[in-house]
């Protein structure tokens, strides 16, 4: 084999080749608005991606409307009311367990574990019942601006993660620069990425690096020198975690310790942040003139990189996560809309989710469901609650507010392995089997034409699977319900709620075994 043969082999690996893999079914739609009135299957598709799946009632209410109207409604407004607090524990503050006796320390850690379970269960419940797309968008951000509950041998205190959740939720469709500022000075984040230890003369580069690499730009757009300078800009901010620590801004709120801030001039991305004198080394001034300035410099000096980076991240989360199939033209158009709107996130999400590209048949059913999309989605779609939903997520490698590392969940095919796939199947079976006879009978009656078994089966398949199935497959599913009887006997079977429930449970189990049940 000569070198040229070898090289042509390498391209087959799809590694150096930057063009998307050639498929016989290309995505023809671009960033332009999808203007056709939405069909039922369009609505199902939209709701699977922007949220955790439609309920039957919700889907019906959107049929015939335009994508623009529906997406506007689902994205909600910036001033969406905050959910009711998960409990009084969110305002409980402890002593520093490091200094406490062994028993107290154990009790504090234990309490944090309990609180984390409460917080996650509370949030999953909000996701399940969310009439809009508020929680799914917040989940996107929670996996982007990560703050792990447990890392190394440390904890992010759930009380601080609760506050971070509220902050991300309020910024979810706002100004990206404001969001970046609030995250940078977020109490949980300052602890998680070592910002609280980043002092003048003793820099800790951890957050400064990740802000550029993982949160805003991606590698290749800054130098190692920029990492060091960003760390200097960010010196002096402290997290507030324990009762014995200063809390000038109140408990669980970060604060500024002037003596730990590096007041010298900084050179960042070719821009100068001037030195400051002791009398203007204040929380307000440093926040606005240095921290916010650092973020503005990123968006000013690297607008293309920043907009493409975030557009790509959003595309992978909401449209298609395969790294080799991110459509560069669509991304460029999306990024440009985002830039032109001065990094208004609502424009980014709305442009993406109302585009012809998004509604193109070629991308339907291509997305691998994340564990929470599977767990929350099935609970929501079957109207059935599993109180262990948080635990199921953990078994499937998605622990809410506790990503495997600072880069978040790796996504795409990493979600499905011989470790997690059996758990997915087990969850779905158990949830279906836990449905009472009366719940299954209600479920049947949510669909139009439920007395016609072929129509009912088609409706349920459309509801739970992401793409149309072949006639043979549909026949097979019909057979799992009627089990050899003629189809006209279905109304009779319906007259016996126990039998009807057993048959439809069979259908649901059968659908949940299909590979495309894991897709959306």
């Amino acid at each position: 084999m000569d070198r040229r043969d070898l090289l042509s082999n390498f391209f087959r690996l799809g590694v150096r080749d930057n063009s998307p893999q050639v498929l016989e079914m290309p995505v023809t739609g671009g960033v332009e608005l999808h203007t056709d009135p939405l069909t039922l299957n369009d609505v199902y598709h939209l709701l699977r991606r922007i949220g955790f799946g439609a309920t039957v009632v919700q889907a019906k209410s959107y049929v015939g409307k335009t994508a623009s109207e529906v997406v506007d409604e689902l994205l909600g407004s910036a001033s969406e009311t905050a959910p009711e607090s998960p409990g009084t524990w969110v305002d409980v503050i402890n002593e520093d367990p490091e200094g406490a006796d062994l028993q107290t320390r154990g009790a504090i850690y234990n309490q944090w574990e309990i609180n984390m379970g409460k917080l996650a269960t509370w949030w999953i419940d909000l996701m399940r019942t969310d009439p809009k797309a508020v929680e799914k968008l917040t989940l996107f951000w929670s996996g982007h601006w990560t703050s792990e509950f447990t890392f190394d041998i440390k904890y992010s205190i759930p009380q601080t993660l609760y506050r971070q959740y509220l902050m991300l939720r309020s910024h979810r469709i706002g100004d990206m620069k404001q969001m970046a500022l609030d995250v940078t000075l977020d109490n949980a984040m300052l602890y998680y990425l070592g910002g609280t230890l980043n002092d003048a003369g003793k820099p800790n580069e951890n957050y400064g690096r990740e802000l550029q690499e993982l949160f805003l730009l991606g590698i290749g757009w800054y130098t190692e020198g920029d990492v060091k300078e960003a760390a200097r800009v960010l010196t002096g901010w402290k997290s507030q975690r324990y009762v014995e620590e200063p809390a000038p801004n109140g408990i669980y709120n970060s604060w500024f310790e002037a003596a730990k801030h590096d007041t010298g001039a900084k050179q960042y991305l070719g821009q100068t942040i001037p030195a400051r004198t002791p009398d203007n080394n204040t929380e307000y001034q440093v926040k606005n003139e240095e921290v916010f300035e650092l973020i503005k410099i990123i968006f000013r000096e690297r607008p293309e990189a920043a907009s493409r980076f975030l557009a790509t991240k959003a595309y992978k989360f909401f449209v298609y996560s395969s790294p080799l199939d991110v459509d560069p033209i669509f991304i460029e158009d999306l990024a440009s809309a985002f830039r032109n709107a001065n990094f208004d996130l609502k424009v980014l999400f709305k442009t993406m989710l109302t585009s012809k590209h998004f509604f193109d048949p070629a991308i339907r059913g291509a997305q691998i469901k994340t564990p929470l999309e599977l767990v929350v989605g099935l609970m929501r779609q079957l109207g059935q609650v599993d109180s262990q939903a948080y635990g199921w997520g953990i078994k499937m490698d998605q622990t809410l507010m506790d990503t495997p590392d600072v880069s978040g969940w790796p996504g795409y095919r990493s979600w499905i392995s011989t470790n997690t796939y059996p758990q997915r199947r087990s969850f779905a079976s158990k949830l279906v089997e836990s449905m009472s006879d009366s719940r299954v009978n209600e479920f049947i009656r949510e669909f139009d034409d439920y007395t016609d078994i072929v129509k009912l089966t088609t409706n349920i398949v459309d509801y739970l699977l992401p793409a149309p199935v072949t006639t043979e497959r549909l026949d097979y599913y019909v057979q799992t319900v009627i089990q050899g009887a003629p189809t006209y006997e279905w109304p009779g079977i319906l007259g016996n709620p126990t039998t009807a429930a057993a048959r439809v449970r069979n259908l649901l189990l059968s659908i949940s075994k299909a590979p495309d049940f894991q897709l959306c």
Binding site: M1, N198, D199, P203, E224, D325, I363, P422
Partner: protein, 522 residues
């Protein structure tokens, strides 16, 4: 003692004399022949140390005053570092003080079962955990940040080796990862060559009967491709859950392992091998090496020492178990970590992301010893980080060619680049070699160093096909000097490198590597 046998000595790089084929035959003692037949059972264990292991606090440069200047709070004192065979100083945690009687990396080094590769890294080091991990696992060193790295060197290697993959699956999983989502290392363009599992009993309980009752779909849509991906995992879950369970039930551990999360993974691997699982690769994972904060306390305890102790105890216990059960000759292991740390400590008693680091390669079939010199703490790179001495893929080339019986062409296909094996693993010798003159020859280069040209000279016993290539000292291909055949007799070939520099000149004689160091000073 076994390691000191004739074959081991004759495959050493330092051989300087011609040895006749007939003499060699004495080397084929029955013990060795058994190993040859067992080639098919060879196993690699990869230990991934995520976060970037601090090489300078692993193998301690006790004689470099700069080390103590750079790290006033977290340097390991010479008095507490463990001197092994008068060659290196290990972090005391590697001597597993918590488990004083345990077999560990220090003892393995003394017994000739450990190779320590200092200065492993690559050109233009990337200090991102994720990008650098991807570079390590994919085996592609690309400085193009847009290049997408989506599969691993072991995935690509094995997906080509397995007959009929993925249309038909081998009876046993080719690779097994303990815990977590399946690593990029085991992914290939044809699909995953491995499975991930945490608990064999649970896997069995949940995996049974998961084969989908639907055929694969056409691959011409995104939906069809992802459908088939999920379908393959479902099939693997069903098929391999019972294979793994059988091996787990039939297998055993013959020693008692220290109780530690990492060690338990090694214990599970030993049990699966013992029970007859025919997997080629096992991947185990350690997290926590991203030691930005409080990596070590003043008494040299703390997070990083804990991790080193876990590593040493886990590898040692596994090795002891393997020796007792008789499968030690079939296993080699290697550590990988995306980078080392900065030479300087930071302000938080930790260290930030750095460049080159240290790698362990272990097993009965390694050529034990220390590769590379103590890291140079004076001549740092432009970012103030340690320079690398060896390209990280050299050990991969050893694994593919010397351990799994691949060819240099396969290595080149997998790595998209010619990479010379480091020679850290013993090359398997087969009976065929003895009759085809496939043995190392003693090669002299004179003059060396030289300014314009040097001449290679050796005695060739039989006609041979010869290729002479120059590589950088780190092991990356530079240029081909000669390719052709030679006749028996004294062979003399002049070498004129295109540029001044230090080189490894590899003389491949009938496919056997004979590396010679050359220095061209112009």
């Amino acid at each position: 003692m076994k390691r000191r046998n004739f074959i081991a000595t004759t495959t050493a790089a330092a051989v300087g004399t011609n040895i006749l084929g007939g003499v060699r035959l004495k080397a084929f003692n029955p013990d060795h022949l058994m190993n040859i037949q067992a080639d098919d059972d060879r196993i690699l264990i990869v230990i991934q140390m995520f976060g970037g292991n601090d090489g300078l606090n692993t193998i301690i440069p006790v004689d470099a005053s700069e080390y103590y200047d750079f790290r006033p709070n977290i340097a390991v004192k010479k008095s507490s570092a463990v001197n092994v065979l008068s060659q290196i100083y290990m972090h005391p945690a590697l001597d597993t003080p918590k488990y004083p009687s345990a077999y560990n990396l220090r003892r393995m080094m003394e017994d000739g079962r450990l190779a320590i590769v200092q200065g492993v890294g690559y050109e233009n080091p990337n200090l991102s955990h994720f990008r650098s991990t991807d570079i390590w696992l994919s085996g592609f060193n690309t400085s193009d940040p847009e290049a997408r790295l989506v599969n691993g060197w072991l995935g690509r290697f094995w997906s080509e080796k397995i007959q009929g993959f993925p249309q038909s699956l081998p009876a046993h999983p080719t690779a097994v990862q303990i815990g977590g989502s399946l690593s990029m290392l085991l992914r290939s363009p044809k699909g995953d060559v491995g499975i991930a599992l945490t608990d064999p009993n649970k896997f069995f309980e949940l995996g049974q009967g998961l084969s989908p009752d639907l055929d694969p779909m056409p691959e011409d849509t995104r939906y069809g491709r992802e459908f088939n991906f999920v379908r393959l995992v479902a099939e693997q879950s069903d098929l391999y859950s019972s294979v793994v369970k059988q091996a787990y039930d039939a297998g055993r551990n013959m020693i008692s392992y220290p109780d530690n999360a990492f060690v338990r993974q090694m214990q599970l691997v030993a049990r699966l091998i013992s029970g007859g699982l025919k997997s080629k690769v096992f991947l185990v994972y350690m997290n926590g090496f991203d030691t930005h904060v409080q990596q070590q306390n003043s008494d040299e305890s703390g997070l990083h020492p804990y991790l080193l102790e876990s590593l040493s105890a886990g590898v040692g216990a596994f090795m002891q178990d393997a020796l007792q059960q008789g499968f030690a000759d079939r296993v080699v292991g290697m550590t990988v970590s995306e980078f080392g740390r900065r030479p300087f400590e930071n302000g938080s008693n930790g260290t930030d992301h750095g460049a080159s680091s240290v790698q362990f390669v272990w097993g009965n079939k390694v050529r034990a010893g220390v590769y590379g010199t103590t890291p140079d703490l004076v001549n740092l790179n432009s970012n103030g980080d340690l320079r690398y001495q060896w390209d990280f893929r050299r050990v991969y080339a050893d694994v593919m060619e010397y351990w799994f019986g691949g060819t240099p062409e396969e290595t080149e296909t997998v790595l998209q680049e010619r990479v010379l094996p480091l020679g850290v693993l013993q090359r398997p010798t087969s009976v065929d070699d003895a009759f085809s003159g496939r043995f190392r020859v003693g090669i002299k280069a004179f003059p060396n160093p030289f300014s314009t040209s040097t001449t290679l000279e050796w005695m060739q016993e039989s006609p041979a096909s010869v290729t002479i290539d120059l590589y950088s000292t780190a092991g990356r291909f530079v240029e081909t000097i000669y390719a052709g055949s030679v006749q028996p007799g004294l062979v003399r070939i002049p070498i004129v490198p295109s540029a001044s520099g230090a080189y490894i000149c590899n003389v491949s004689v009938n496919g056997i590597n004979n590396p010679v160091s050359l220095q061209c000073l112009r």
